[in-house]
Point group: C2
Chain length 348, copies 2
DNA sequence: ATTGCAATTTGGAACGATCCAAATTATTGC
DNA sequence: GCAATAATTTGGATCGTTCCAAATTGCAAT
């Protein structure tokens, strides 16, 4: 076998040209003669050449590394996994590769990960920030002219682009729908109150009950962990009230599933005895029993949009911060009691 | 602001030493004087220095890039997301970063992704291969002395390490348990027959029914897509038989959930009227209603083990192929009818 | 043939780090 | 105080690629 790795010089020797010509072929320059090009390509195949991007990046001061970094706060949550898949799609087809890391909501981990990505010379970053992230965390990136797109959670005070879903509009639509079904005591369940997302979704809820003429009653807001267990907990506390709610808008789908669990444990059937609406439209929402009425945000297309925006900024050279809020829509299924029985789930 | 990027030479100048000394500091060499070290570190902080790993890798023939590649066939599936998180944990704490890509079962995508990773100089690869992957796909990697660890799906004929769970042992235990509860017509539902995993799980099922003295009946094996929809489909076909099964071992948890859906659609309650056992123990298994009895494989610890094995091989310099099968265990919950009511799900 | 002009090709000189051997400085024993 | 030794520090040379200016080639027109 060959001792060291195969370099452009080996190829040049084998094809009887200079290393400069090989380099020209590598970058698909139109300057090189068709005959030479194929000779060089043949030699590359012959010797099993692998392009060394590290060396290339070293020389090209301006050009890019073809790496984009993706940082998410919880990959275990299928919402973020889908988001990453969406990003990967467009990033891959643009000839970039994805550096994906998970922070598990740890701000320290996030810092480490971003530092490491910088060392590797990422040409852009998409990040769903960990809970305690501050605007200052991205200062060095923007100073180095590395485009950053923040997704899912907005970060007040930053000069970077962001893509968030229309949280307020979503919960507003949910409340509106429940009110139209005749509910008058509608709860807002789950989520940690110290997050921007919580605030936005709660604001939509408040708007909703106000516009529907039900009035805002703080007692009906029950926060909890944004998880299935948290949802089960929240509905427990809600049902312990003297004047119980008959419907709930949940912080997200995980909470909504937990609420359903909790209702069943109390011999109440979600969708019949109590209306439940989630948020996110995770993949299980449509196959669960009862199928979950929820606000659909389509994380995958959100990921795609984030990647497109980032690539645009990378190509433009200059990162003009842009804020996008993606539309959401209410998907009516069974859990809200608006029995749409025609959405056939007879068999698969 | 500074024009170009900050290099070791800038640091050297600022700290009043030579670039060689700065380099020594960078690699934490014990040769350098404590006083100089802190002077250099101060200068680095001052100027906002970022280490250029690309340049470093160029020189160090032997040493590695601190990048490890991770390729999964379906990141949308939370099993693989958890696996990736497990890998990330140990990889990160070893000072490496993860290059994660998703192939969506596309062999072409997989090839592209691996080629791209090679160009970036990964020092190792962990891969859950796409369906049609051949042993030859990894030849160039092993020829280049890049350690490869195949996870989840074994790949016959490769000279690379692999970590798979004890599929056969898992389904065997599941059948044994169902037989001990008195079931005599036990079906095997879901999964694509052309995969190694399917074969192994089926083999465990066949062993199980044979050992239990029930005899193997091919009719009771119903394959389908390994998804929730597939499970719903499979149970539909199983219940259409003249002599219906009363219990099922499912290819995985997704199928098992689909089976539960299908049973409910036929007004049968899983766990009471029909026993269901899954495989994987995904996160939802314990909170679902009824809680799913399943074979636990703990993808996260599998990811951790894969990463540990890979790092071991990277550090050893030479990759001695190793095959590990990780133990699985039967987690008895409600869906098999062995009512363990004490596993309190009163509230959270 | 010789010139002019476009089409190709080509040797260095970078890029930012590491390595090596050799130089410098500090410390010790006598 | 001086040689011997240990502890630090330091200039190139180098990794594999791209860039640049300059050289070579081909070919039509003179």
């Amino acid at each position: 076998m060959t001792k060291g790795r195969v370099t452009v010089i080996d190829i040049a020797k084998a094809a009887g040209v200079s290393k400069s010509t090989v380099s020209l072929v590598l970058q698909g320059s139109p300057l090189v003669n068709e005959g030479t090009r194929s000779k060089v390509n043949a030699a590359m195949r012959e010797l099993g050449y692998v392009y060394n991007r590290g060396a290339a990046n070293l020389r090209q001061t301006s050009a890019k590394s073809k790496i984009i970094g993706v940082v998410v706060n919880d990959l275990t949550n299928s919402f973020f996994a889908e988001l990453a898949v969406g990003v990967d799609m467009v990033v891959q087809s643009a000839g970039f590769v994805q550096f994906l890391s998970n922070t598990s909501e740890s701000i320290d981990r996030q810092r480490e990960v971003i530092a490491s990505m910088r060392e590797h010379g990422i040409s852009g970053l998409i990040v769903s920030p960990a809970r305690a992230t501050e605007a200052a965390d991205f200062k060095p990136l923007v100073a180095a002219d590395i485009p950053v797109v923040v997704v899912v959670r907005s970060l007040p005070g930053t000069k970077v682009s962001s893509i968030v879903s229309d949280n307020q509009g979503g919960t507003f639509a949910a409340v509106e729908h429940l009110a139209s079904l005749g509910h008058t005591r509608i709860a807002f369940l789950g989520g940690f109150p110290d997050t921007a997302v919580f605030e936005e979704r709660l604001a939509g809820y408040v708007d909703g009950v106000t516009v529907a003429g039900l009035g805002f009653n703080e007692e009906l807001v029950v926060s909890s962990a944004p998880s299935r267990a948290g949802g089960s907990d929240a509905i427990g506390r809600a049902m312990a009230m003297s004047d119980r709610p008959t419907a709930a808008v949940c912080f997200n789908d995980a909470v909504a599933f937990g609420v359903c669990d909790g209702l069943r444990a109390r011999h109440l059937e979600p969708g019949r005895d109590f209306a439940v609406i989630g948020f996110d439209d995770v993949i299980e929402a449509q196959t669960a029993v009862p199928a979950l009425t929820t606000i659909s945000v389509d994380p995958q297309s959100m990921g795609r949009r984030a990647a497109q925006l980032l690539l645009k900024q990378i190509n433009a050279g200059k990162a003009e911060p842009e804020s996008v809020t993606t539309a959401v829509r209410l998907v009516v299924r069974e859990s809200c009691g608006a029995a749409q029985k025609k959405t056939g789930r007879k068999m698969a």
